[in-house]
């Protein structure tokens, strides 16, 4: 046995106090007699002070309680042999919120879990891990069903997609090896290839649902030419961003139900309904619902969905941002007219961009330049196009093989390896290059970084090491130019649950994050871009700082989770950890609960004994 808090044994000092109290009580005791005559001799003698307390059963009961209390405070644990270890994976993904017959899958899962642990032996240790987000509810194992229940009661369904396998892996890592048994409480069906030691308790069932699965909130960076013409024709000014004009919100709705359903899609702003569309969506079908808004200024719009058979509520609401009928501003800073001409041709091909060759502009304008000094001074996101050669005349193009990192957004639409005619930049850049290479160029046996992407303090920088004057019509170069502009403008990024929020840059200090569920998170921010990862709730997040209030919307758009009619399995029967990374921690069985139970019994017994004992004695 070990004591985790041995200093608490100082509470054994209550025992001498108890003894003193008994002695004091004994000194003060009075005895009534009929006559003092037989005791006159005694009365003439000074009374003898008792030196020992009148110990009785009552005393020993009380002393035992004191000793037990001190012992319980010392947190005794018994280190014993390994007992049965069970890992419980509780699915907290969004689909668990689907309501069927009045109860959600998560409620049913909790009830099933509670019933499961209630029947387990007390020597069995239980770890509980949730799947969305992956969270270890019980860093130290629990044996008491009440404790386990309390831990589970503190958890709610999130608005995230979950991965049961990852939760199981994390659980195994916490345990330090594979558990004796794994029990998964989920709405997913048991996979066919689950191992014998894994038990699936599926609490789900087919529940019809209608969901918003897509929302076209990102206005394209480059508009089709005829769309721009029609937009220009319908608005009074096509150059001023933020002007009100007609807009259309396109909502993709999917009916996860065996029957067709009438669906109503409403768009509102500031709780005022602006437009409504009613459609009938066939069973299992997905439909794009276009909701025209006659007058739509820039801002955020609530999109809500309503259908008669709808099991899941989280996917019935989304927020879309409309930027108005404006265009993104780009500034081109250069002293080279050929550079300006080449880049200008590219920018002219995209009517969604409004560019100018000017040093002055708004702070958030995108900057395109061939001057590294200008790029380093700029506070806005910048595209630096410079091969570092500073040649007055571009070198003749030659074939350079591009090695493209297709996993980066800058590498979109490019082949992983493709030949490109371009002027090869010097292998050594004139200055330090910042960023991660996304495209390397191979020529003459050398590998040279051609495209680098960097992000710091919320500002993005793309360095494109080539001379646009040499090959202005090379398609890969044009593609990478527009990929860069799109990445710098963050044109294709929208936040959904599970993706981090990037806000800022903010000044150092306390930042208050007001979540959609009402919780407030205080963060001591060191300055720069605030990255908030806990986007497990859909809705508007308000970030309050010295800068003011910034609102960011996180939407739940996950057709896999919304599909409550045919839930798929995310269980991946990958091999578990084969060997423990460290010795498994010894099993510690806390004795405090037992001691407290004994104390409780003793307290009651002592009280009853005290009361009954006195009653037997004549008054």
């Amino acid at each position: 046995m070990h004591l985790l808090s041995p200093w608490a044994l100082c509470w054994l000092g209550s025992l001498p106090v108890l003894v003193w109290l008994w002695r004091f009580a004994a000194v003060k005791r009075q005895t009534r007699v009929a006559s003092l005559v037989p005791f006159e001799a005694l009365l003439r003698r000074p009374p003898t002070r008792r030196t020992r307390p009148p110990l009785s059963l009552l005393f020993w009961l009380q002393a035992l309680v004191c000793a037990l209390a001190a012992w319980a405070l010392a947190e005794p644990v018994v280190v014993g042999r390994t007992t049965h270890t069970t890992l419980i994976v509780l699915d907290t993904s969004a689909s668990m919120g689907a309501v069927r017959r009045g109860a959600s899958a998560f409620d049913r899962a909790k009830r099933a879990l509670t019933a499961h642990v209630a029947s387990k032996p007390l020597t069995e240790r239980v770890y509980v891990v949730t799947s969305a987000p992956v969270q270890v509810l019980t860093p130290t194992p629990l044996s008491d069903p009440g404790d386990i229940r309390a831990a589970v009661d503190s958890v709610a369904v999130s608005d995230l997609a979950g991965q049961l396998s990852v939760a199981a892996k994390v659980g195994e890592a916490v345990i330090g090896g594979p558990p004796d048994a794994t029990v998964v409480f989920t709405d997913e069906p048991a996979p066919a290839d689950a191992t014998r030691s894994v038990t699936f308790r599926s609490v789900g069932g087919a529940a019809p649902n209608v969901a918003i699965v897509g929302l076209e909130s990102d206005e394209p960076l480059c508009l089709p030419a005829d769309a721009v013409k029609s937009t220009a024709a319908s608005s009074t000014s096509d150059a001023a961003p933020g002007r009100e004009g007609a807009a259309t919100v396109r909502v993709t709705v999917q009916n996860f139900a065996p029957q067709s359903q009438p669906v109503t899609v409403e768009v509102a702003r500031d709780r005022r309904r602006l437009a409504r569309q009613r459609v009938t969506v066939e069973a299992g079908a997905r439909t794009l619902v276009a909701v025209p808004l006659p007058r739509a200024g820039p801002g955020q719009y609530d999109v809500r969905l309503d259908a008669p058979h709808d099991a899941l509520a989280v996917d019935n609401h989304a927020v879309v941002s409309l930027g108005g009928a404006g265009r993104r501003a780009v500034r081109v800073v250069t002293h080279d007219q050929e550079f300006l001409r080449a880049v200008g041709r590219w920018l002219d091909a995209c009517p969604g961009l409004s560019w100018s060759a000017s040093d002055a502009g708004e702070a958030d304008d995108l900057l395109v330049t061939d001057d590294p000094a200008a790029a380093s001074r700029a506070s806005a996101s910048t595209l630096l196009i410079s091969d570092g050669s500073a040649a007055a005349v571009p070198a003749p193009p030659k074939v350079v093989y591009w090695l493209v990192d297709s996993t980066h957004l800058l590498g979109r639409y490019l082949e992983p390896i493709q030949p490109v005619p371009m002027a090869l930049p010097p292998s050594q850049a004139p200055g330090p290059l910042s960023g991660v290479p996304v495209i390397w160029g191979i020529a003459d046996g050398e590998r040279i970084p051609l495209l680098l992407a960097a992000e710091e303090q919320g500002r993005r920088l793309v360095t494109l090491r080539l001379d646009p004057r040499a090959s202005p019509d090379a398609v890969p170069i044009i593609v990478v130019f527009f990929n860069s502009v799109q990445w710098l403008a963050r044109a294709s990024e929208s936040t959904t649950t599970g993706t981090p929020l990037l806000v800022g840059p903010l000044a150092p200090g306390e930042v208050r994050v007001e979540r959609p569920d009402g919780r407030i998170i205080l963060v001591q921010h060191p300055g720069g871009v605030l990255r908030y990862d806990r986007t497990d709730r859909a809705g508007v997040h308000r970030i309050r700082s010295a800068h003011g209030v910034i609102e960011r919307t996180v939407n739940f758009l996950d057709p896999a989770e919304s599909n409550t009619i045919a839930v798929g399995s995310t269980w991946d029967a990958a091999p578990t950890t084969a060997r423990a990374a460290a010795a498994r921690t010894p099993v510690r069985q806390p004795l405090s609960p037992w001691l407290i139970i004994v104390m409780l019994v003793l307290v009651v017994v002592e009280w009853v004994y005290y009361a009954r004992r006195r009653r037997r004695e004549p008054r």
Binding site: L58, D405, T407, G445, M599, W607, A611
Partner: protein
């Protein structure tokens, strides 16, 4: 508190109160002692329930050095890592607790670590650590660090590795680490530097990258591109073997100069479907090959079902489509399927000159399903069979056609020429003259187009039909035979022959009506009759050329009068050999009188036409089926004739039927009505384009499939001109099928999360799956519109851990960003040395001492009543 807890508390209280009635205390002591006892019991129960509060406490940060000790890190890299650890140890604040783990396939704490600030003392323990070094499993190693920390203290991991994992799927689990309070600070262990002048590195050639196109056409070459790096200072030999399904396709040896090189090899794509490629690279100085897998989808040309009434020789249209790289299957109407499944193999159906009545109701039903539900295309070219019947009787196919044919709706250009050869059979035609006449007749026919009309009459006193007026192509073969049987008899009367010729020429309706008379002219002449005949010939615009042929005397005056009066020519033949030449010359002369394109139909582009906009000049046609476009049909080409008023007849019309398209070309694509089209240089291009516009969409031409990062996860992105696509993933072994939930994020973009998908190669099936037909109750599954292969996760090398392997710096950077660590700044792991941690603080720690105090107070209040 739960109900049971409240119940338990009340029960205990009840016991206390019930027993307390007999307590030997009175007054305020009694109530005080009772209250203290109840409070004590309550505190005990609260302690038993395990209630707790959260308390922030500063805890020393724990740092774990996680050192990659897989085989690829042997030698100089391990020494570098040891020096790095030692240098970091010199910076570490004393408050920061640290430990060290080494990993390969799994992670362990090495035993007997020496002084941490002495690299030489670290290395032996690392090298002796009992780990499997044949793989690098970053995922398992990072999870192992969790279990190395007894409490859920904030953990910072300084990871020294090249990032190149060969096992595990860190990308999938990476975002699970941040909520577990684990921050990773990766440090990229650099590859060993090239040494100048050194001997050839035993593993000098490293294979950095492999690329193949996602899709190629059958028969094309598949470019396989490799990026290799030669670390030595001199060229090295290298051998590449490309095989498919165990069969070597290509083996090539080449020399790689020092530095980086891109090598492209080609293998043929011979059959449609997936072409798995296994690429092996052998270094001359390294016997073990490096091996990687790649997949290419080989697509065939569009398949067209070509339906002909009598499939014999392929007509010009079919030949043109074959030359436009379309695969044709030729069938007769009777062979057409009656269920949908039979049509699914085809991207389009062409009904070429097929009688619409030859398609039965079940066939048309199946065809309609093919168009409506699958998006198949149907092109109807002309009409076969008995046009009178076909145009006046309804047929099941009518409901699919975008035009309504008019009952008397054959518009045919007038015949160009009708030539008659009148041969005098009188006694003067004998011997060599017959032979000359035969040659002349042949010459005559050769001058004519196959559709020109020609006839031959012989006469003596009455006319005899040698060959009735008919198209030249039909008469030529018979003519010679019939002339052989021409016998010479006595007597000549020209008048009946001329009237017979007149009648036939008048009925032909040709633009040029001409007769060539071979006679000696020795015939009785009734002048009034001949004058009347002359007038009729002139009124009918019938011309007669005469060639005097006879043994001795000919009536040249009559012959000349006949020719001159009708606009013909009189020829005085000098010798029999001149006869064919004269006939040919006269025929040419008659043909020269034809007006250009008179009687032909000129197609023009309709006002709202959108197809084939780069074609402005269309060849003329000689005939078409008059029709009217139905409401909703789009007309691309039409005929306009002011004589008919503003209504135009469509030549090419089409409309959508469900997801597919039906087009009708109301002329033929053959020589009868479209000889100029057939001879037109753009004939193939135009028909190929027409088919492609009508056929089922082949989305593969412009289709992008890729895997993109999405926050900390990843998603499959599909871009293309698709309609409501659905996507499934099939594992490379073909065993696992994973449907993905696509959501539309733009006009041509769909996305689906693939976080739950294990790393590896997958075949992406892009499908327009047909819903079960409620009427029939049977489900029909269509073939996928397109197939692509994608690789999810990092490419896995088939070889293992032998260096040199390229580093995966991006993975390390992603790891740092996702876990709130820092890349290549390991000293930041020590700052700050403590961290505030929220810990549960049990209520018991207050409840029990309070209970104890209350206990003592109670005992004191009881006093001597306890004795």
């Amino acid at each position: 508190m739960t109900g049971s807890s409240i119940l338990g508390l009340l029960l205990v209280w009840g016991l206390i109160l019930a027993a307390g009635r007999n307590a030997p205390l009175t007054g305020w002591r009694r109530w005080a002692v009772l209250g203290l006892r109840l409070a004590g019991v309550t505190l005990l129960l609260a302690s038993l329930k395990g209630y707790s509060t959260k308390r922030q406490e500063a805890q020393p940060v724990r740092v774990v050095y996680l050192v990659d000790q897989s085989a690829s890190m042997a030698g100089a890299r391990t020494e570098w890592a040891a020096r790095r650890v030692a240098s970091l140890e010199a910076l570490r604040p004393s408050k920061v607790q640290r430990s060290l783990m080494v990993f390969g396939e799994e992670a362990v704490v090495p035993a007997a670590l020496g002084a941490w600030q002495e690299p030489e003392q670290l290395l032996p323990a690392w090298r002796a650590a009992p780990i499997d070094r044949s793989g690098t499993n970053l995922e398992r190693a990072l999870f192992a660090t969790l279990s190395s920390v007894p409490e859920r203290a904030p953990l910072r991991v300084i990871l020294l590795s090249d990032g190149r994992q060969t096992r595990g799927e860190l990308e999938r689990t990476i975002r699970s680490l941040a909520p577990l309070n684990v921050a990773v600070f990766p440090v990229l262990v650099p590859p060993p530097a090239r040494r100048q002048g050194s001997a050839v590195n035993a593993r000098g050639i490293s294979w950095e990258q492999l690329s193949v196109p996602p899709v190629v056409k059958r028969g094309a070459a598949v470019p396989v591109t490799l990026v290799v790096r030669n670390d030595a200072d001199r060229p090295q030999g290298c051998e590449v073997t490309i095989s498919s399904a165990g069969v070597p396709l290509l083996q090539r040896s080449f020399t790689v100069p020092a530095g980086w090189r891109v090598v492209t090899l080609s293998v043929p794509a011979l059959s449609v479907g997936t072409l798995p490629l296994a690429v092996e690279v052998r270094n001359a100085s390294d016997p073990a090959p490096q091996r990687r897998l790649a997949y290419v989808e080989v697509e065939g040309p569009p398949r067209v079902l070509f339906v002909m009434a009598h499939p014999t020789a392929l007509p010009p249209l079919a030949m043109a489509l074959k030359r436009r790289e379309m695969e044709l299957a030729v069938r007769s109407p009777a062979e057409l399927p009656t269920d949908l499944a039979g049509w699914l193999d085809y991207d389009a159906v062409v009904l070429d000159q097929v009688p619409k009545s030859s398609l039965t109701e079940p066939q048309v039903d199946a065809l309609e399903q093919y168009v409506r539900r699958v998006g198949g295309g149907v092109v109807v070219v002309g009409m076969g069979g008995e046009l009178g019947q076909e145009l006046t009787h309804a047929a099941p196919l009518d409901r699919l056609l975008p035009v309504q044919f008019e009952p008397a709706g054959v518009e045919e250009a007038k015949r160009r020429v009708c030539m008659l050869l009148l041969i005098d059979r009188s006694a003067s035609m004998m011997g060599p003259r017959i032979a000359a006449t035969k040659r002349a007749a042949i010459e005559l026919v050769n001058q004519l187009a196959p559709e020109d009309l020609v006839g031959m009459l012989a006469f003596d006193t009455v006319p005899y039909v040698v060959a009735e007026v008919q198209p030249a192509r039909q008469v030529s073969a018979q003519l010679v035979e019939k002339l052989v049987h021409l016998k010479s008899v006595g007597g000549t009367d020209l008048y009946p022959a001329l009237t017979a010729a007149r009648d036939r020429l008048a009925l032909s309706g040709a633009t040029v009506k001409h007769a060539i008379l071979l006679s000696d002219g020795l015939t009785p002449v009734n002048l009034p009759e001949y004058r009347a005949l002359m007038q009729e010939l002139q009124a009918q615009h019938i011309s007669i050329s005469t060639i005097g042929i006879g043994a001795a005397f000919i009536n040249a005056e009559l012959l000349q009068w006949l020719a001159t009066g009708t606009g013909g020519t009189f020829y005085q033949m000098r010798s029999l050999d001149d006869l064919p030449t004269l006939v040919a010359r006269d025929t040419q002369s008659a043909l020269s009188r034809l007006p250009f394109a008179e009687g032909y139909f000129q197609p023009v582009r309709a006002g709202a036409a959108t197809w084939m906009r780069d074609t402005n000049d269309w060849p003329v046609l000689k005939g078409y089926l008059a029709s009217t476009a139905k409401p909703g049909a789009s007309v691309e080409l039409e005929f306009r004739d002011e004589r008919r008023g503003p209504t135009a007849h469509p030549l090419l019309a089409h409309w959508l039927v469900g997801q597919g398209r039906v087009a009708v070309f109301t002329s033929d694509a053959d020589r009868r009505w479209s000889p100029d089209w057939v001879r037109w240089p753009d004939f193939e291009r135009a028909w190929g384009e027409l088919l492609r516009m009508s056929m089922r969409p082949r989305a593969s031409e412009e289709l992008f499939v890729r895997v993109e990062p999405r926050g900390s996860g990843r998603e499959l992105v599909l871009e293309g001109a698709l309609e409501a696509p659905s996507v499934s993933l099939v594992s490379s072994e073909g065993r696992q099928l994973l449907p993905l939930a696509l959501a539309q994020h733009g006009p041509f973009q769909w996305r689906a999360p693939v976080d739950h998908v294990a790393d590896g190669w997958y075949r992406v099936l892009i499908d327009s799956r047909i819903q079960p037909d409620p009427a029939s109750g049977s489900a029909v599954t269509a073939n996928a519109i397109a197939t692509r292969w994608v690789q999810i996760g990092s490419p896995r090398l088939e070889r293992g851990e032998l260096p040199p392997l390229p580093s995966d710096e991006l993975l390390l950077r992603r790891l740092a960003e996702t876990t709130h660590g820092a890349y290549d700044e390991p000293d930041r792991a020590f700052v700050p040395p403590t961290a505030w941690v929220e810990r549960p603080w049990p209520v018991r720690n207050v409840a029990l001492p309070l209970m104890l105090l209350l206990w003592l107070v109670e005992v004191a209040l009881r006093g001597r009543t306890m004795l």
